[in-house]
């Protein structure tokens, strides 16, 4: 297992290099420079600015220089936010987005697995239809709709919860976490229901039932592990999606997280900020995909044996 993880981490180096290279050249070939503005910018100013940020050098030279900086752990200065470094901006946004993603993931797993497993235990009954209909609605409900709905109901009309902010007013983390987590809860409910149904039809479950074990015990002890494999495989991508999808929720709820920085950076052509965020997000995604794979292997002994057999 450790060798597997180490191997994957080593593989991540060329992956990151590709990500940096592709992003670098994409960003630099995107139309509109970081300093274009509504008001005409005098040529003197453009020249001065390009000099200051080394944009007057050939692109490949900038690329080499950038790689060198990244190796030293320096993502450079932000072009847009005069005087801020990219490291500083990531440092400001990451903890907030990570916290939001964590809560959303907990909402998604808690609600999703409960609903999915419950539905699978009594397929084609009300206990199945209700949560699955809910899941379907959850999937149809984009966060740009769910967020405002929740705000209007709980924030404005009932006046129970704050309508915006993150850590400023007590309780302001609840609505964003639910908004971001709902879509994933719905996915997870469907995946875990499917997985559980699959497992519950297997022989060993029937054997267990024939032995007269209680249904609850069968679910918890025997079925969950196999039944949740599709959910586990989905966790890596889900986490990536949460990080990337946090933008909409961060905008609706006025949360100062990475998602807003990232999208603003893209629109502002803040080259260094886009690159820095991309590299950082890429690393996170690689790590989470690895963790999700490791968890899947751990839950599925067969795969593990094979892996260990292959490596040794």
């Amino acid at each position: 297992m450790y060798r597997f993880a180490l191997g994957r981490l080593l593989q991540a180096i060329p992956v990151l290099l590709v990500v940096i290279t592709v992003t670098f050249f994409l960003v630099h070939s995107a139309p509109g420079g970081p300093f274009s503005a509504d008001k005409a910018v005098p040529p003197e100013v453009i020249k001065a600015l390009e000099e200051q940020y080394n944009l007057n050098q050939p692109v490949w030279q900038q690329y080499i220089g950038y790689l060198g900086d990244v190796l030293r752990g320096d993502f450079g200065p932000s072009f847009k936010y005069s005087g801020r470094t990219v490291n500083e901006l990531i440092g400001a946004g990451l903890p907030i987005t990570a916290e939001l993603a964590l809560y959303a993931m907990l909402v998604a797993l808690g609600v999703g697995i409960t609903a999915g497993v419950g539905a699978a235990m009594r397929p084609n009954t009300l206990q199945d239809y209700l949560p699955m209909t809910g899941a379907m609605i959850g999937i149809c409900m984009p966060s740009f709709l769910l967020g405002p709905l929740l705000v209007l109901i709980f924030g404005i009309h009932l006046d129970w919860l704050p309508v915006s902010g993150w850590g400023d007013i007590p309780g302001d983390k609840i609505l964003p976490s639910i908004t971001l987590g709902t879509g994933y809860a719905a996915y997870i409910a469907r995946l875990s229901r499917g997985g559980m149904l699959e497992v519950l039809s297997q022989d060993y479950i029937r054997t267990a039932r024939a032995k007269g074990l209680s249904e609850r015990l069968i679910i918890v002890k025997h079925a969950l592990r196999g039944g949740l494999i599709p959910v586990v495989a989905f966790l890596g991508p889900a986490f990536a999606g949460l990080l990337a999808g946090s933008f909409v929720v961060e905008t609706i709820f006025q949360i100062p997280g990475m998602g807003r920085f990232y999208v603003q950076a893209a629109f502002n052509r803040d080259y260094t900020l886009i690159l820095g965020m991309t590299i950082f997000l890429s690393t996170l995604i690689i790590v989470f995909n690895l963790l999700s794979d490791m968890l899947a292997i751990w839950l599925n002994p067969k795969l593990r044996h094979e892996l260990e057999g292959a490596k040794s």
Partner: protein, 555 residues
């Protein structure tokens, strides 16, 4: 053999599941017990003198000689101040750091007397030399000051900026002594005092800037909390990016006794729908704007918190006169004549905007442009036929370019339909993301493009000089040497206001005859303002005087 291991993993799996469940429950519990709405920002703020201000986007910088946006201008005007201030209603210049000034008979030499109690927020004395140095800095091309032109009325300032002269002592700004500043202009500029209330002409604290880098270096840390030294009624105490900027009263300010607010919290909110909800939840005293569809709701309810005021800006469409179908002025005129502006502002923009039939907003420095442009679909049809497109037949495919934005989309959709209805021509829409749009527009690769201009100062010159032949903001390809001459040479040489305005009217007529642009409406500022906020008076620049504002909740 697998039995044992399976069982063991199952056990571990179960442990993990239980742990996860407990963690989840604990978190939900913590989250929920934290709930229970506390006191709102607004009612707390009313008690302790804190103003919560919705401020649009996150400011790029607080360096007054680098900043360019409205959100930046709000914060900068709270922490810094120029030689003159403006009356918060009429925008007449009133004494700021300068307690008085003299203007020479020919209107070209201004002598400012500075207050002897003017101080920087760290207690340093604030002298006339600070202005000479700050304006020297503002004219360094390396700094990338987009508002350097605000100082160009000063003698030799443009020449210095463009590198034609290298000795700053030839530029018309001199500190005669610590408290006297003399400014010499190239020609009388009636709006010069106004420019001194624009943030790009504010003084900056030399020692602080040099502590964090070179004077003409961008991106130093001198504007951050703990570093920034200003001369305004407030001082910066906290700056959390994308979250809030907090300023507190500055005890060294010359008029500190008359500043009522203790604190202002500027909150950057790009999403105006979110902003409106925050206002309703009493998390904000003032919003930066209001979605068009909400305006009618507030209007219908006669909500006193809705505030609509004329705003010095024109929303217009550029017509690219280099494109074959738009070469003919009759076609451009026909397009302009078939825009039903009244219907548009009543039904689409809804913010009480004023239909515009000329480029300069009416009432700019007493100038009310006359225009023979009207909504006349029949006349437009005739003109189009004369130009060779009877009933729109054979009119080449044409696109409206606009940057991605709800408001611009709505106007474009409405105009598209008006042109179809009245001229029977098919116009397509093309929206582009902001930076792409800027590129496309300045490269002249468009036919019709959405534009807007907000005045930097109240004078027709600021609107009409957009369309000079090589003006960077022209972008239509339209060029008329006589027009250039009127704006650049004739208008500045006029001795009386009346004559000057006549010249502008003449230039404006040339613009309207040739129609390289279609004026659509004059902006209004639309905001929500909590009733506790006093002395935030509307003015056409929509610039607040924070030092005058106080909070008093209604009983």
């Amino acid at each position: 053999m697998t039995y044992l291991s399976t069982n063991w993993s199952l056990y571990r799996g179960k442990l993990a599941t239980e742990l996860g469940l407990k963690l989840f429950l604990a978190l939900v519990f913590v989250g929920l017990t934290g709930c229970g709405s506390g006191e709102s920002n607004v009612s707390a703020g009313n008690k302790n003198g804190t103003l919560y201000w919705g401020n649009g986007t996150e400011p790029q910088t607080l360096d007054p000689q680098i900043a360019t946006g409205v959100p930046e201008s709000h914060i900068i005007s709270a922490v810094m101040e120029g030689l003159v201030l403006k009356n918060r209603k009429t925008l007449e210049p009133i004494p700021g750091v300068a307690e008085s000034w003299d203007i020479s008979a020919d209107g070209t030499v201004y002598t400012f007397k500075l207050r002897d109690n003017a101080r920087w927020s760290n207690g340093d004395t604030h002298t006339a030399h600070d202005y000479a140095w700050s304006w020297w800095r503002a004219l360094q091309p390396a700094l990338g000051n987009l508002y350097a032109y605000m100082l160009f009325p000063i003698k030799n300032a443009r020449q210095y900026y463009e590198g034609d002269i290298s000795d700053f002592s030839e530029v018309g700004v001199k500190a005669l002594d610590d408290r006297t500043l003399q400014v010499t202009l190239s020609f009388p500029t009636p709006y010069f005092l106004q420019l001194l209330d624009h943030y790009s002409t504010y003084p900056v604290h030399k020692e602080t800037i040099e502590k964090f880098g070179d004077a003409d270096q961008r991106g130093t840390r001198w504007t951050y909390e703990g570093n920034l030294v200003g001369n305004g009624p407030f001082q910066l105490v906290d700056w959390k990016i994308n979250r809030r900027i907090v300023v507190e009263g500055n005890p060294h300010y010359w008029d500190a006794n008359n500043v009522s607010l203790n604190k202002i919290v500027f909150i950057p909110i790009e999403n105006i729908v979110t902003e409106e909800r925050m206002f309703r939840a009493k998390q904000l005293h003032v919003t930066s704007s209001l979605p068009a569809d909400k305006i009618s709701v507030y209007r219908a309810a006669k909500d006193p918190e809705l505030r609509i005021a004329p705003y010095l800006g024109t929303y217009y469409y550029r017509l690219n006169v280099r494109k074959p179908q738009l070469k003919d002025p009759r076609v451009r005129r026909a397009l302009a004549m078939s825009v039903d502006r009244q219907r548009l502002v009543d039904n689409i923009t809804k913010g009480g905007q004023i239909p515009a039939y000329a480029m300069t907003p009416p009432g700019t420095m007493g100038y009310y442009p006359e225009s023979d442009l009207t909504f006349d679909p029949e006349g437009a049809k005739r003109l189009l036929a004369e130009a060779g497109y009877p009933n729109g037949e054979g009119f080449p495919s044409t696109e409206i370019l606009y940057n991605t934005n709800e408001g611009h989309r709505k106007v474009a959709v409405a105009l598209q339909d008006m042109w179809k209805k009245h001229l029977n021509i098919d116009i397509r829409l093309l929206n582009q993301e902001w930076k792409v749009y800027l590129d496309t527009e300045s490269a002249g690769q468009y036919e019709i493009s959405r534009a807007g201009w907000i005045g930097d100062y109240v004078d027709p010159n600021n609107f009409l000089d957009l369309f000079l032949c090589n003006g960077g903001n022209n972008r239509t390809g339209w060029c008329n040497e006589e027009y250039d001459r009127l704006i650049l040479d004739v208008a500045p040489s006029m001795s009386s206001l009346k004559e000057r305005l006549e010249v502008f009217q003449k230039a404006e007529n040339m613009l309207l005859d040739d129609m390289p642009i279609i004026p659509i409406y004059t902006y209004t500022s639309v905001q929500l303002v909590n009733s506790a906020v006093k002395n935030l008076d509307p003015n056409i620049m929509n610039s607040p005087a924070y030092k005058d504002i106080y909070l008093q909740a209604d009983k």
